[in-house]
Amino acid sequence: MNEYRSVLERAGSNFAPLDLELESLLRRRDRKRRNQRIAAGVVGIAVFVAAVWVVTSVGSLDRSEAPAVPGPAETGPAEPNCVVTRCTETGPAVTATKPGYLIDLNTGEMTQLPKSIAGCCYAASPDGTMVAYISLDDAGMSQFFIARVDGTDVQQVTQRGAWGPFDWSPDGAAIAYPSGWEEDVINIFVLDLATGETSQVTHEKPPTGTCGPTVGVPCGPQGAVFPQFSPDGASIVYTVYRGGDQDVRIVPVTGGKSVLLVDGATVGTLSPDGSTLAVGGCGRRLGSGLCIAHADGTNLRALVSGPQLFGPKWSPDGTRIAYNDQADGPTGNKVFVVDVATGETTFVADGFLDDWLDDHTLLIEPVPE
């Protein structure tokens, strides 16, 4: 017998057989069907209400291309403007994820993104007309797509798997993204949108038996993630996971030696003028919260305190930072905006912050159900 098989069989003998009856499975199927019927009903009502609203207020309608009613529209009929091979006879292949939505901070108006670009981890182009996002291909594999915000011109960029989130270069000509399913380690690549060529920026190595309970380190994703271009487009701020540690670093976009900015922080991003670094989690020295520092990571100080603050994003004008607060648990994630000058925070919405579309519009994903 294969020696590894005997090790695996021995390991497997520690797990008791699964106590699962067919009846439980059938009940789960029935629950799923019932939920689908309810969702379809909600969509039907939403469509009816929207139709009535359109008929009664056609004179003032100014954005007819996007549904204005937030809701579980992923179970609805196929998008007529679905433009890529991901479309099936029952609609886009991605039905498990709700589309994100835009929220106008001035008016509070929410506009759902079209179903044809349902996915996660949206990143807006600098001019606010395009989004990069993660969605599933026909085989159910996470891939990197770009599309216009109105849901047209959907293009699948990767074929062999991709991770999010991304960042567009300040000139809109390139996108930095993490990838590396095949290599067992994630690295950051930059895609030139004009030529379609990619270049590898970071060169993290796969973990070699340094994780697991025996060494107190979880075997989670390893490598370089969360790329954020510097305002001049010459460098990328990113987070590196090695073993159980995570640090925010900066590296030239052409590759080369990286420099530590804040150790123990989760995600870092530079202000539009390049003078200030914002980090989620304040690093090993200060602990949790949302912090700002000089661009080189020095003079780190808390801007907002809280146990579960992460994913800071500067507004394009550099006056505000949007961030996530998960103090109420995963399904209670909330998006806030803080005024950098005054430190005043404002609740925006339930959901996950993805990006700013412009100085007063945020891209947000609904919380999972």
Partner: protein, 175 residues
């Protein structure tokens, strides 16, 4: 291919004239424990393994009329389960970003680690390395088939298996 051969994974005693529901039940009973065990070893989390097992069988149940006609429903079951595992692993980054625990932690895994060197030896492998050895060494899938299940190339799968073998050998020799 004969009906008997098509359902050979269920066992020769399977009544091929049975209703689709009966056929599915026989398949479910024959496969559920091994799939769950494989997923326990891959995920090292019994809650997640149970969830993935249920998901995989549910997907097969929803399209059982087509799956039952396949030459290898056993392989299809594992492809489905590994596809779900792959997607969840992909979402792990979002989990890191958002501090979401998709499934509860398996608190007892540390106890099992403590008492059994074999389980402990798997802890140091990455999830994909564990998936590679479980699919190839334990379940006997060919590298090409296992690679398709994990959405990677066969050469990459062999690399993961090789690294896993080296790590297992080293850990077991120390124990």
């Amino acid at each position: 291919m004969s009906e008997i051969a098509r359902f050979s994974v269920v066992g020769p005693e399977t009544d091929v004239a049975a209703s689709p529901t009966d056929q599915f039940e026989a398949f479910f009973e024959a496969e559920k424990d091994q799939l769950y065990l494989a997923l326990c070893l891959v995920t090292r989390n019994r809650h997640e393994a149970e969830d993935l097992t249920q998901d995989a069988f549910l997907r097969l149940l929803e399209r059982w009329d087509r799956v039952a006609e396949m030459e290898d429903p056993h392989g299809y079951l594992y492809r489905t389960a590994m596809n779900s595992f792959r997607r969840r692993y992909g979402r792990a980054l979002r989990t890191a970003k958002r501090s979401i625990q998709l499934v509860p932690a398996d608190d007892e895994i540390a106890e099992i680690d403590e008492r059994d060197a074999a389980v402990r030896s798997l802890a140091g492998l990455s999830p994909r390395q564990r998936a590679a050895v479980v699919l190839v060494d334990l379940l006997g899938f060919r590298s090409e088939e296992a690679a398709r299940m994990l959405g990677i190339r066969a050469s990459t799968l062999r690399m993961h298996a090789s690294r896993a073998h080296a790590a297992l050998k080293e850990t077991m020799s120390r124990e």
